[in-house]
Structure formats: C-alpha cells, structure tokens
C-alpha cells in the first residue's frame, strides 16, 4: 500500500537515537551510531547499505536479540507505543513473535534441523495462544498454503533439509506471519536465492496485507520493486532517507549517488567497466569524527571531516546527511 502524504496514524515502529557498540579484540566497534526512523502501519520501508553498515545490527538490537555482554545498546525503540527496552524478559517474549516477527536470510541454518516444519512454524503461536497440537498443525498447513508452498499437508511433517531453498524461505515467512504481527522485519531474505525464486518471494511479500514491513537489503532492484520508503545506511549512520521514487531518481548524498551509479545498465555510455565507489568503508573500531564517507567522496570539503552532518530535509520527505549537497539552511527536524 503506497501513501503519498505522511500517515497521520501513530507509527507502528519508532526507533529513536539507537546506538550499538560492541567490544572486540581490536577495540570498541561502533556498529550503529544514533539512528532514528519510524514505520507506519502497512508501510514498506527498505534499509539499504553495504555489508557491515549496521543495517542488521540495528534491527537485531532493536528487538533485543543481540547478546548484551559484548553488545552495548542505547536509545529507545517503541513498538506500537510500547518501549521495548523497558520490558522485562517475560514481557519481551510476549511481544516477540506476536506483534513483531523476523525473517532471516539463510533459511537452512536459521531453521532447526531436527524439528519438523509444522512444529517450528507454530512454536511461537503455541506459546502465545496455547493451541493444541492438532490445531497447531492445521494452522501451520493453512499458513503454508497461504505462502504458496505446494503440498502443504506433506511439507508440514517434513524437516527443513527436505525442502528447497525457495520453499524454506516461504516457510520462514509463514512462520513469521503465524503470530499475525503488525510488523515484519526481513533481513535480506532473498539474497541467497536465485533470481526467479526471489521474484516469487517478492510477489508473495507484496501481496501481504495489514502488516508493515522493514526489508533489509543490499539489492537496489529488490528495493525498487517493493518499498515505499528507503533508508540508506553507511558506517552505522542513516545518510539518506525518503520515498523510493525521490531517493532513486534524485539522490542527494554522494554515497547514494555512487550506489545507484554502480548498478549496471544497458544504457550506460561506457559499457567496458563497471562503475564502483573507490575505497573501502571505514573500520567500525576507528570511525572518524566527521562524515564517515569522507575518504571516498568526490565532493568532500575540509568541513566534512570535522563534524558529522545531520540529516537535513532536502525535498518533501527526503532527507540527506551531507554538508555539501544538503546543507542545513534551517534547523533539521
């Protein structure tokens, strides 16, 4: 469901100033550095960025799924108004799997190899609702039908390794939908699948109703086909956000431009070399005080290395964090 104007209803997911650091042998890695965003009911938001930019870390941390001794999490996360960080363990378990659910990338290692599919799909729901075994199995079969798994009655009793990659990913989606969540967080669920299967899964997800989706990806094509809004992350910061159309057609941040440029196209003038952003992302244990993209940026200026630019509105709902292309003329909101 696409909306053109900002949704006045209360956001179903609000992240405010989320920070994640973790202790490693080489120092403290600043994986997520104060990001804030909201997701409205029924909205599709994509989070885009390279490996290690903090997209997975931020979402896992938001749901308190990161082990806390090595990870230090700060900030505020509201799910439908409830502060997730203020819940005790039992309350958190009530929320997870019911109001919010996650779909992971590698379905083979994300599923328990010794449990049958039906059991895994309804495990959370059985805990929350107290379904009987028989009802749970029927519900699992119904869910598998809904996500388009052929022969669901047979698949329900099978083990994960007996299903193909595409079927397993559908089953993971079924598992996430079991609790009828308001928010579905998908962490690169189609990255490991081949293109045709990926397209089918995307069709399935596009057809889901009454659920907001946060979709993490590094594949811009997938994002374009699925999302209403997109957040671009780099080195633990959100450096650009806005409607998919605006960001993809009129990218502001040099990194976003670089990303979009690197997507090869038949219409490229020079088809002999692939365009790439030179250099490598900074190491998270050694982030600079200023803009983390400084070393690789064509438009850099001295002031960029001094201070991290804030996210500034550039056009309607589109915001970017860049001193050069999105200079704050007014106080950023």
């Amino acid at each position: 469901m696409t909306t053109d104007s900002p949704d006045p209803r209360r956001p179903v997911f609000e992240v405010d100033g989320l920070e994640v650091r973790f202790r490693t042998g080489e120092g403290v890695a600043r994986a997520v550095n104060g990001i804030s965003f909201s997701v409205h009911p029924g909205e599709r938001v994509a989070v885009v960025g390279e490996s290690g930019c903090g997209k997975s870390a931020s979402l896992l941390a938001a749901l308190r799924l990161l082990p806390s001794p090595p990870a230090q999490v700060a900030g505020r996360v509201l799910l439908d108004g409830t502060d997730l960080f203020a819940l005790n363990a039992r309350e958190l378990n009530d929320v997870l799997g019911r109001d919010v659910a996650m779909v992971f990338q590698d379905s083979l290692s994300s599923l328990n190899p010794v449990l049958r599919m039906g059991r895994q799909i309804t495990e959370g729901v059985r805990r929350h609702e107290g379904l009987s075994k028989k009802d749970a199995r029927a519900y699992a079969t119904e869910l598998l039908t809904r996500v388009g798994v052929p022969d669901p009655a047979q698949r329900v009793d099978q083990y994960p390794h007996q299903l193909s990659g595409g079927m397993r990913q559908r089953a993971m989606i079924a598992m996430a939908l079991a609790g009828k969540p308001k928010l579905l967080i998908a962490d690169e669920p189609t990255t490991a699948l081949d293109v045709t299967v990926q397209a089918q899964i995307l069709d399935l997800v596009r057809g889901l109703e009454d659920v907001a989706i946060v979709w993490v990806s590094h594949d811009l094509g997938v994002v374009a086909g699925l999302a209403d809004r997109v957040l671009v992350m780099y080195a633990g910061y959100i450096i650009e956000e806005g409607d998919v159309g605006s960001v993809f057609h009129r990218p502001r941040h040099p990194y976003t431009r670089g990303l979009l440029n690197s997507v090869p196209s038949f219409r490229d003038a020079d088809r002999s070399r692939l365009a790439a952003i030179p250099g490598l992302p900074p190491t998270l244990t050694d982030l600079p005080a200023g803009c983390p993209f400084y070393d690789r940026c064509e438009l850099r200026e001295p002031r960029c290395s001094a201070q991290m630019p804030p996210l500034t509105t550039v056009d309607g709902t589109q915001r970017a964090a860049c001193w050069v292309t999105a200079a704050p003329l007014e106080v950023a909101s």
Binding site: F22, R23, T24, G25, E26, A31, S51, G52, S56, A57, L60, L66, P67, P69, P70, A71, Q105, D106, L108, S109, E188, T191, A192
Partner: protein
C-alpha cells in the same frame, strides 16, 4: 605460495619464514597452555638425556635392603622401594625407557600410516578400498587389547612394545592422510601445478603434503601421550620392558601389592600424568591455532563476538550454512 624471491615489487613484503617465526613467537607468548606443555616436555627430555650425569643413586644397582620401603625424606626424595632402591632415581630414569618407545612407535605409525594413506588417496580404486578395509580391521580392536595380543605374541621387550603400539596407532593416520589428500587434490593450486606439468611426486611433496600436515601434527602430538599411556599399561601388565628396568608402569604394578607404601605408586603415576597432560596441552593449542574458525574466537571478546560477527555479516552467515 609466494616467497620473498617471487615478489620483486616491494621489499616490505615479509618472507614466509619471517612470518612463521614471528607468528610462533607471538603464539608462545599468548598461549599459556602451549608454553606449559612445551616446558614440561622439554624438561623431561632434558632429564632423559642428562640423568646419568646427575643421578642421586643408581636406579638398578643401588640397593639398601636395610632401608627398604622407606617413606620420602632425607636423601630419598621419593622414598625407597622393596629392594631399597631410590624411587626418585628410578622415576627419572623411567623417561629413558618410556620416551624412546613412545617417540619410536608414533614415528613409525605416522610414517607408515601417512604413506599408506597418501597412496590410497592418490591411487584410488581398488588400492584405496583394500587399504581402507585393512585399516578398518586394525581399528576394530580396542587399542589395549590388540597391543596386548601383539606384545604377548612377540614376547615381552621394549622393541616389541614399540611394534605393538605402532600397529595400533597407524590406521588413523591412514584415514586422516587419505582424507586430506582427497580434499586437497581438488584445490585450485594443485590443479594449477599439475597443469604446468609438475610431476606427481612434486605435486605431492610440495603442494599437497604441506596443507595436509596440520591435523597430522596435532594428532601426532596427542598420540605421543597416548603411546606413553599404552606403553605404561603394557609394562603394568608385564608384557613390556622386563624388570628390573625402572619402567613407570611396572613400578605402579609393583606398588599394587604394597598399597600402604603410597609413594611407590604415586610418583611414577604423576610422572606419566605430567607428560601426557603436557602433550595434550600442546596438541590442543596447536589444534586451536590451526583451526581458522577458532582463531577468531581466541581474541578477547571471545565467542560472543564471533557470534555477533556471524549474525551481522551476511557473508559470514553464509559460510556457516
């Protein structure tokens, strides 16, 4: 594998030996278990080599019947046995019997086992089948039982103990080596070597073997400990070195009938324990070092950090699938 000679570009590229040396020094500094293990083994080796020079008493010849079965104290640090011999000297001399047996047996087992395994891996087909069946059969016997049978059949002596232990130990090296050969053969660098015309033996010695060695080295280290246990066990039973040789196992056996004289059995056993543990320490450290996955877990932050790594990096997660 490039060496300094092959990279003409920059002179800052360190040579391979330099890297290995520095790596080993760093390893020794950071790994307490490895250090302790090596120290203990080294100590025993030194003892084995030098004890004739500094022995307090002759382990066999010195017999003080008047002072027999004396508890530890005074000049006899470990007490005296039923013939008045000094237990301390006998324990120290025991290394001269045990260490050569263990080293000899493991060396034979490793050489023979690896050779056979490599041949099986390279030749394939019927040769492979025959070799694997043969090693299965040897593995079908519990170690002590087979070693006992062989040693008994051949007659009690140090040499036969070596043969018995080697016979029990070689099959696992065959399997290990064969497995390594089979998996390394398919590596790209081997194909590259073969494609430029390297002879099969050169491919084996210079391209396959160096990569197959780490698990074999680890196992050999641990097996040195196992061999000592086996040798001591065999002499405990009485099919090892003949008395009055100061073999540790035999000394413990003698102590069985004199349980009140606790020092007779305690010290030889502690000697065995110390050296076997030392070999286990070394083997464990080497194994951790050679396992690339474990390497990331060794740094501070430990396994939780690697778990995070696995969660957060899609490439890392894929590797686990």
């Amino acid at each position: 594998m490039t060496t300094a000679a092959d990279t003409p570009t920059t002179s800052t590229v360190p040579s391979r030996t330099g890297l290995v040396l520095r790596g080993s020094l760093a390893a020794v500094r950071s790994d307490a278990a490895l250090v302790i293990g090596c120290a203990v083994v080294l100590a025993w080796v030194v003892i084995a080599l030098t004890v004739p020079l500094w022995k307090p008493f002759d382990p066999v010849g010195f017999q003080d019947l008047a002072g027999r079965l004396a508890p530890p104290g005074g000049t006899h640090w470990f007490g005296t046995d039923n013939l008045g011999r000094d237990v301390f000297s006998r324990v120290m001399y025991g290394t001269r019997l045990t260490l050569p047996i263990a080293i000899g047996a493991v060396t034979i087992a490793v050489c023979w086992g690896c050779l056979v395994g490599a041949v099986a891996g390279f030749a394939g087909g019927l040769v492979d089948e025959v070799v694997m069946r043969l090693s299965d059969i040897f593995l079908a016997f519990p170690a002590m039982v087979l070693a006992l049978a062989i040693a008994a059949a051949l007659g009690p002596s140090g040499k036969n103990v070596v043969i018995a232990i080697a016979a029990v130990t070689w099959p696992e090296y065959t399997r290990l080596m064969r497995g390594q050969v089979l998996s390394i053969r398919n590596n790209l660098h081997v194909t590259a070597a073969e494609s430029v015309g390297c002879s099969r033996s050169r491919v084996f010695w210079r391209h396959v073997l160096p990569f197959g060695l780490p698990p074999i080295v680890v196992k050999a280290t641990v097996d040195l400990g196992m061999a000592i246990l086996l040798a001591a066990g065999l002499s405990f039973i009485g099919v090892g070195a003949a008395p009055p040789a100061p073999e540790w196992g035999a000394m413990v056996s003698d102590a069985r009938t004199r349980m009140d004289q606790w020092w007779l059995g305690l010290f030889p056993g502690l000697a065995i324990l110390s050296i076997v543990l030392a070999f286990n320490f070394i083997g464990d450290s080497l194994r951790d070092r050679f396992d690339p996955r474990m390497r990331t877990q060794r740094r501070r932050g430990g396994s939780s950090a690697s778990m995070l790594r696995r969660l957060l990096l899609p490439s890392a997660r894929k590797a686990d699938a």
